[in-house]
Symmetry: C2
Subunit: 352 residues, 2 copies
C-alpha cells in the first residue's frame, strides 16, 4: 500500500488515503482547521492517519509558501569559550521553547564574513537574527534591512538596530575596585602596578577601559597611559604582550585587569613558559567568567556577564522596531575567586 517508506508522508499521501482534500488535511495539521470550519470528526480522522504514518510537515515547503522558516539565527564570533558557548546554550533554550529551531553560526570577527554569513542565513529565510559580538553590526544591519529581516545586536552595539550589551563601564569599575580592594591596606596597590591587557578598539573595550581609568584615578590617584595594553581578541597576541612586558619589567604587574577570557588564555600560554613563582603574588581580574579560571593558583576575580538576562531582553526587543535604536545595558555580576557557579548544565537531569 504505502509507497517507499523511506520517503516521508505528505499531505497528499494522507489525502489519498483518506479521500479528503489536501487543503483540508493541511488545515487540520497546521491548526487552522477551526477557522476553516472543518468537522471535529474529520480532524480526528486526519490526525490519527498522520500519526500512523508519522507525518511531519516539510518545513521547506511550508517556509516557501509562508516565507517563514521557523529558523532563528545566532551569529557568534566563535564558539569555543565559556562566554559564547553559554550564549549559544541559552539562545537555543529560548528558541526551542518558542517552538522554533536555532541555527548558530560563527563568523570569526571578520566584517566581510559577518555580512556573508548573514546573507547565507537569509537565503534560508530565517525569521530573526541575533547578531552577537559582531565587529561591524551596522554592516550586518544593512544586509538584514535589505531583506526585511528582524535583527538585534548583542554584546557589541550597533547604531542602526537595538543593542543589548553588558554594562561594560559599570562592570569595568566594579572589577577594578575589586582588584584594588583585594590588596591589604598596609601594602596597597600603587598606580603603576595595575595594568589592563586585552581587547581592542571596540565599544566594550572602550567602556571597560573608561571604567578602569576612572576608578584607578579615584582610588589610586593616578593612571599612567602605559597601563593600557590592547592586544586584540586573541590568545596569542595577549601572550606576546605579557612576554614583552615581562622582558622589559623583569616581572609581571602585581595586578592585571584582563579584558576577556580569550585574552586570559594568553596569560595561560605565558604561564606555561614560566615557573610557578612568577605568579606567586599576582592578582587577576577578568571580564568574563570561566569556572576553571576562577580556581587558578592566584586570586582571580571574574565578571560574569548576565547571558540569560541579555538573551531574554533581546527577545523582547527584537519585535520592537518602531522606536529609535537604543543601547540596553545589562549588569554583569562580580564573581569572587574560587567560585563555581551553576550554569546551563545544571538544567539537565542527573542520570547515572
Amino acid at each position: 500500500m504505502k509507497k517507499d517508506s523511506r520517503k516521508k508522508a505528505t499531505i497528499y499521501d494522507l489525502s489519498m488515503l483518506s479521500g479528503i482534500s489536501p487543503s483540508t488535511v493541511s488545515a487540520v495539521l497546521n491548526g487552522t482547521w477551526r477557522k476553516r470550519r472543518i468537522k471535529e470528526s474529520t480532524a480526528d480522522l486526519i490526525r490519527d492517519l498522520a500519526e500512523k504514518h508519522q507525518y511531519t510537515t516539510n518545513r521547506q515547503a511550508q517556509g516557501l509558501r509562508s516565507s517563514r522558516s521557523g529558523l532563528v539565527g545566532l551569529m557568534l564570533p566563535v564558539y569555543d569559550n565559556r562566554y559564547f558557548s553559554s550564549m549559544a546554550q541559552t539562545f537555543e533554550a529560548h528558541v526551542r521553547q518558542r517552538g522554533q529551531c536555532p541555527i548558530v553560526v560563527s563568523s570569526s570577527r571578520d566584517p566581510r564574513e559577518e555580512r556573508e554569513t548573514a546573507e547565507n542565513l537569509i537565503s534560508y529565510s530565517i525569521d530573526e537574527l541575533f547578531i552577537c559580538g559582531a565587529t561591524d553590526p551596522d554592516g550586518v544591519h544593512q544586509v538584514c534591512e535589505a531583506a526585511g529581516l528582524k535583527h538585534i545586536n548583542i554584546d557589541l552595539p550597533g547604531t542602526k538596530a537595538h543593542s543589548v550589551i553588558s554594562d561594560n563601564y559599570e562592570g569595568g569599575r566594579t572589577l577594578t575596585e575589586a582588584i584594588i580592594h583585594h590588596f591589604p591596606a598596609d601594602d596597597p596597590l600603587v598606580p603603576d602596578e595595575l595594568f589592563l591587557f586585552g581587547g581592542r578598539n571596540d565599544h566594550a573595550s572602550r567602556e571597560r577601559i573608561r571604567g578602569f581609568r576612572d576608578v584607578k584615578r579615584a582610588l589610586l590617584g593616578a593612571d599612567p597611559e602605559a597601563s593600557i595594553q590592547p592586544t586584540g581578541y586573541s590568545p596569542n597576541t595577549a601572550r606576546i604582550a605579557f612576554e614583552t612586558f615581562f622582558e622589559k619589567a623583569g616581572r609581571l604587574p602585581r595586578a592585571l585587569f584582563i579584558n576577556s577570557s580569550i585574552n586570559f588564555e594568553g596569560l595561560l600560554r605565558f604561564m606555561s613558559a614560566h615557573p610557578h613563582e612568577t605568579f606567586a603574588d599576582l592578582v587577576v581580574g577578568c571580564y568574563d567568567y570561566d569556572p576553571f579560571g576562577s580556581f587558578l593558583p592566584f586570586p582571580v576575580i571574574m565578571m560574569r556577564q548576565d547571558v540569560e538576562g541579555m538573551i531574554t531582553k533581546a527577545f523582547e526587543l527584537i519585535e520592537e522596531t518602531r522606536t529609535p535604536p537604543k543601547i540596553h545595558l545589562i549588569r554583569p555580576d562580580l564573581v569572587p575567586p574560587r567560585t563555581a557557579l551553576t550554569g546551563p548544565l545544571d538544567g539537565l537531569k542527573d542520570i547515572v
Copy 2:
C-alpha cells in the same frame, strides 16, 4: 521599476528584466548552464543582472525541488564545555568549507529529546546528521533510517551506523599511567589512594574504567572495587560524590581520575567549600582538556580528545553506508599539567 526592494529578487524578476526564461536564468545561476548549452554571452548578461539586484537563491525553494537543503546537522548533548564547543567549532569549519550550512542543536542527553530533535532537523530536509554523544544513538538511527538520512555517531558509539569515538580504553590507560608515574618512586601511590569519579554506564565510561583498572592492577598490584565512583555527567552529582567521600574518609584521595570536564566542575564546586590546603598534594587526571583546568593549583593531567581527527574521519565515513557498522577509534593526546594548547581560536586573524 523594481518592486518592493525589501523582497529579495527571484529568478522570475531577473527573467522579466532580461526577457530570458526563468529556466535559463536558473541554469545560469546554479552552474548547470553549460550542460544546457546556454550561450556564454547570455550567461554573462544574467550574472551581471543577478549581481546588480543582489540575487541570492532561495534555499527553501531550491531545497523543496531538489530535496536537499545544504544544511548539515550536529546534535550535541550540551554546548557549554570546551570539549563540545570545540566540537561545534570544528564541525562548523568543515561544513562551511564544503559550502554547506551547519545547524547545531543540543539534546540534553535525553533519549526522547534526541529523537525529537532528529525529527525536527529532518523536517528541514537536512542532508546529513552527526550524532554526537547521544545517549541512545540507535534510537536516533531509526529515525534517520526511516527518513533515508545519512548519519554517523561521534563520541558515543551505536550499533546501527558507523561510529567515530575517542580511543577510551587506551586513553584511560595512558591517563592512569601518567597519574601513577606522577608520584615519586620514594613515595609511590598505593591502590586505595587512586579513585575514579564521574561518568555513567555508557561505552566511553566503561572503556575508560577498563583501562583504569587494567593499569591500576598492573602497576599498583590491586584494584579495590570501591575505587570507581560513577556520578553521571553532571557537576552537581559529582560534587556530592566528592563531599560524601570527604566526609567518610576525612580527606580526598591522593589521586583522582575524573571522567570528564563536566565532572571536574563538580570538583570545583567541592573546592569552593573547602580551604586550599585540602588539595595541597592532590594529583588529578581528567579525561578532557580545558586550558584553564590545566593550570589549577595542583597538577592536572588531561587527555585532549582529537576533535579535529574525529570530525575529519566522520566526514569520510558518513558517505560509507555499504560496509557494516564499525567503531573507529581516534587516539586522544596526553596533556601534561600547565599546558596551554592552541585551538580553533588561533585560526582567527589577530586584529587589534
